[in-house]
Amino acid sequence: MRFGFANADQRRPGHDEAGTLSAALESAARDLSALAARIGADAECLEFQLALIDDEALIGRAFESLGDGVAADVAWRRTMENLISEYGDNPSEYIRARCLDVADLRDRVLNLIHGTVKAVESPAGAIIVADDLPPSRFLELDWSEGGGIALSRGSAMSHTAMLARARGVPMLVQIGDIPHATRALLDAELGVLELDPSDEQMRAFEASRASHAVRRGRAKPLDDRPRATYRGEAVRLLINIEGPESLSHPAARFADGVGLMRTEFMFEGRDEAPDEELQFQTYAAVLNWAGEKPVTIRTVDAGGDKPIPGLSETGEANPFLGVRGLRLSLRRPDVFSTQLRALGRAAVRGNLKIMFPMVTAPSEFAAARALFYRVVEDMKAEGLEARAPELGMMVEVPAAALTIADFPAAFFSIGSNDLTQYVMACDRTNGAVSHLFDPVSPALLELIRRVVGHGRASGRNVSLCGDAAGDPRHTSTLLNCGLREFSINPNALEAVKNAIFENLSEARLD
């Protein structure tokens, strides 16, 4: 299913092009206002589309080109497509996601000009499979019987995604080409679209859907929830972010801080490593947003499944067991020192903590720490404002988890994705071994309890920042391991917070 037009645009002799365009715009504005009135609070994208119709500078350009003998539909399409390409070039994902709103308005008005009404019938409860789904189309569909959305492209920041989130319609984006199938199961908690499932999969899915519906029925929006506690201890929910852009997620402000800021994004798509000033500005922006809340920034974790040309090693037979994370940083003191300098300078701007990835041996941690202290001393000698904040480490290598007491780190963050992969000896991207990839298998829980126990005994903070932390089905198990801090994607905040409260009410019933 594609939304767009392939009609040839033709100028009709003697036709009042300006009148046609005006009438189509007025009619589109009426329809959008009516739709906005019907759906109420979620009407943000419709308000934006209405404002676009009302934007004289923008619409004026379409009318101007009518004067040059261009047909109404061509003029309109050009104007909208210029705006789409302008937004498409914007570095902000949020603004790029607005292209869909503009394309949606473009098609709505073109439909009115051409007198075509597109009616793609889809039964209630169906899974909509498409390249992308415009918000007005989402609003026209009947979601009363469930259903879901699976998009080859799309964006989690689109208005359609916001609408789907608000209504609890499961939606997957960026899943690539979707083969044809007659039946499908969509599990947005797991991020899986199962095509032509077996009867057994269908039954398991129904059971999990029923329990989800019960949880969802008791769920409340984040605003209505006080700070979460479990067995009298505060539970902190922090967010994982890719960069300052991630902070524009609507749920981000409910987080207790940033538990993991990845820094790989700054190194990708460029010829050389980002300079100290750019890194400093980026870190400072996040600290500024967070105010007094903690922000944990992880030094670059290149290599493994995240090769960065010019930085990570090439030609490794097994990159997951090769030079990645801190191993790579220690081999590239030039790049590492630049990042540490930027972090040391940013540390005076807020509540910063620094974390090293893929630490295997205590000597690696000690080497990184020594380098950092030296860098901070150098900067002070240069007269720069700098500070050495708490230094912690990711626990994602089994050896580190097993000998956790030997590491002189101030805090620990369990990276459950890599830890599971290394403990269970299975590649998480290999579907043939996915049944073994269980982040709450007894072997994993043993290691998590060991790290949490050491943290409690020695007064060091322990958090968990892998995907398992954001999966509400694991919340209760992880709380029972003693974990009281999770760092998760902003998308998962609401579900995990609800799961913590759910756990509490079940604990009371027991």
């Binding site: 005006s22 934006f48 934007d55 004289e56 500078a57 004026g60 603004i95 300052p244 902070l247 402000r253």
Partner: protein
């Protein structure tokens, strides 16, 4: 429906030949940083359109002057953390326009989301 394209937008210069009340300018710090989202952009342009004055907006040191009445342009205006938003207006009600717009930004667009 008569539609006229606006003139290209330039910052009105206080030293121009107009009388002083025809020009006004003001700047305000963006409280809720990280970008101008759809709803604030719609609110800001709607408010700007209530005035007859020509109004330009920019993020100091980041963007050029743009038309504060064009939602298409304001939407794409990137305003990083801690940035300063500056307005400049020309026209009979320029002063009132600047007062209203700076108040909107200073009050965090009232019921801004996210």
């Amino acid at each position: 429906m008569e539609r006229k394209p606006l003139h290209s937008v330039k910052p009105p210069t206080p030293s121009s030949s107009h009388s002083p009340e025809d020009n006004a300018g003001g700047s305000v710090k963006l409280v809720h940083a990280v970008g101008m989202h759809a709803r604030p952009a719609v609110k800001l342009t709607k408010l700007a359109k209530r005035f007859r004055a020509r109004i330009a907006i920019r993020v100091v040191g980041v963007t050029e002057w743009i038309d504060a009445k064009s939602v298409a342009k304001v939407m794409a205006m990137r305003a990083p953390c801690d940035s300063t938003i500056e307005f400049a207006a020309t026209g009979a009600d320029a002063g009132a326009a600047i007062g209203a717009l700076t108040a909107l930004v200073a009050n965090d667009f009232l019921d801004i989301e996210g």
